[in-house]
């Protein structure tokens, strides 16, 4: 793979939630990922694997009890890279969030201000970042909402008057309004109907292509990853266990966890019996020694319980962390 222009690079990132003075949940541990310009990266894993926490850290959105360590380097318009984790709140709000990087949070249908009309959400955003007045913002917003099959009348509506799917569309539109270079989407299409899911996903991909942005899609739904992401990162218990181009990971998953995930999904037209995993993910207050997956892994060996697995790289940047693939 040729070196592409990096827009975001996370190096050895750790994220912890403080739950008492002596106890923390180690939600993200030693994660390094890089995202290049125009790329669509998927992050997969089950609930509690740290994927949402990772995205919050990438966005630099750290609210107690979440704390983070490590570097998340971003490069705005060819300036030297800055670590978003060391920037102050005001700078992030003025220069980075919405403009350079936008974030579509989970349950995004519930993030609109219930006391503000839909149009005022657009007006506020456009005023702050572009300096448009209310009249002009409404004009811009009117054309814009029609591009996603919404009527312009809804700008006058309050959020509670719209259905969940419509609100989700509004949040998506707001996040893409300023043509950000990086779009972080956390479960952007969960909890909507499949028809709307497809429409939202295609809209997101269209805009990403049109703006040349990089897109990070976080979802547990492997179908969405198969249809949207170019590269797939599989997380388990706060760590990245496997990373590869999406087609390769579906064809030849190496980590036993990725295998189980991909093999457990029923598909239309496939009559073969499917098997799932037993057990449940480990308690991240006290992560286990060795490989996090060892107690659910059908191939677990002695060493898996003692030492963390090494990182093994195959061609096409296919990276896996597992003891199965070491030469001995």
């Amino acid at each position: 793979m040729n070196e592409k222009e990096m827009v975001l690079e996370a190096q050895n990132v750790y994220g912890e939630y403080t739950i008492s003075p002596t106890n923390t949940v180690k939600a993200v541990r030693d994660v390094s990922i890089s995202i290049s310009k125009g790329e669509v990266v998927g992050i997969a894993g089950e609930s509690g694997c740290g994927k949402s926490t990772l995205v919050k850290i990438l966005y630099g959105y750290l609210e107690p009890p979440l704390t983070a360590k490590g570097n998340v380097l971003i490069r705005i318009n060819n300036t030297p890279p800055v670590n978003i984790l060391s920037l102050n709140e005001v700078y992030k709000r003025e220069k980075i969030w919405w403009r350079y990087m936008s974030y579509i949070p989970q349950n995004s249908m519930n993030v609109l201000n219930p006391f503000m009309r839909i149009g005022d959400h657009f007006a506020e955003l456009l005023k702050k970042h572009i300096g448009l007045n209310k009249e002009d913002s409404y004009r811009v917003a009117r054309e814009y909402v029609e591009s996603l099959g919404l009527r312009k009348e809804i700008l006058k509506a309050f959020p509670h008057q719209l259905s969940g799917g419509m609100r989700q569309r509004i949040v998506l539109l707001l996040a893409l309004m300023l043509k950000p270079s990086i779009i972080l989407a956390d479960e952007p299409t969960t909890a909507v109907d499949v028809v709307l899911q497809k429409a939202l996903l295609m809209f997101l991909l269209d805009k990403q292509r049109e703006y040349g942005s990089s897109l990070v899609i976080v979802t547990h739904d492997l179908g969405v990853h198969a249809m949207a992401s170019q590269r797939l990162v599989v997380m388990y218990a706060g760590k990245v266990v496997e990373e590869a181009p999406t087609e390769i990971i579906f064809e030849d998953p190496k980590h036993p966890y990725s295998m189980a995930l991909i093999e457990s999904i029923p598909r239309i037209g496939d009559e073969s019996p499917k098997k799932g995993l037993l057990g449940s993910p480990p308690d991240l207050r006290n992560p286990p020694h060795g490989c996090e997956f060892h107690d659910r892994c059908p191939f677990a060996m002695d060493i898996c319980k003692r030492e963390p697995p090494p990182k093994i790289t195959y061609e096409h940047n296919h990276v896996v962390r597992c003891w199965l693939y070491t030469k001995r």
Partner: protein, 319 residues
Amino acid sequence: MNHPLLTLNRVTKTFRYGILGFKFKAVDNITLTLEDKPHIFTIAGESGSGKTTLAKMILRLLKPDQGKILFKGVDIYILDNITFNRNIQPILQDPYAAFNPMRKVITYLEDTAKNVLGLKDPYNIKERISEVLSYVGLDLSKVAQKYPHEFSGGELQRMAIARALIPSPKLIVADEPVSMLDASLRINIVNLMKKIKDEKGITFIYITHDLATAYYLSDKIAVMFRGTIIEVGDSKKVLSKPLHPYTQILMESLPQVDPKRRSEWSMKRPKLGFHIEEQEFALKGCKFMPRCPYAMSICKNDPPEIDIGGTRVRCWLYK
């Protein structure tokens, strides 16, 4: 004397928005028959299709405004509670919401054994509970002292299934039983339902929006849209060769779990309706008409039900 297991005869339920708001039919004149042989019957539909309302009516949690629901030929409202509960049992979507967080989960199983099955001797109760728990893959000694939050989602759903199995019912109504679970655990619960059907001869009504598990698990399927059943038939047939335009669009929109099929999937763009849900409920004739690519003027009239090779579809296209 050969009655079907369950018959829904022109069942309708009307809800109203607010006190003076307009009325809409969440379930509109549904007629359905479940044969009396162990099988899994899926009721599929998106949010707002009326599938949960239908489930609640079968479970007697809501009373239909019109129409009758017959269990083995007897109106379910004539059955006394014990007979009803011995024959029909629920499994609900969110196990954490189904159990009181302040109560040990095992007490629900004890109550069912006492009140529904009528066991009195504590030894018999324990024996029955231990039997159903080991059947679903749990160990009584490990779960006896636990409260809901101490279970994982998959285990708690197993507890819910074990509870439903205590009276050996004829029919289990499972409303989105796996939608809250992670993918790797989901299939285990789905497999468990299949095993229960095969080994215990219990029929399931599996209510879901997940068409892939419906394909994997079920024998028959009814697809709902805005309160009506638009297509019903053999699951494999309906889902691989859908007839109704709505079912066709659903199947085209479903993400394929195979990156090689991405370009095929991206070819067709779904058309989004300007109509909001309430307006679709209020439509006369076919409620899918505003979004249907094949809409004709005749669609303003109620579509007829047409039998095509065993699948019954409600659409003017096939007239």
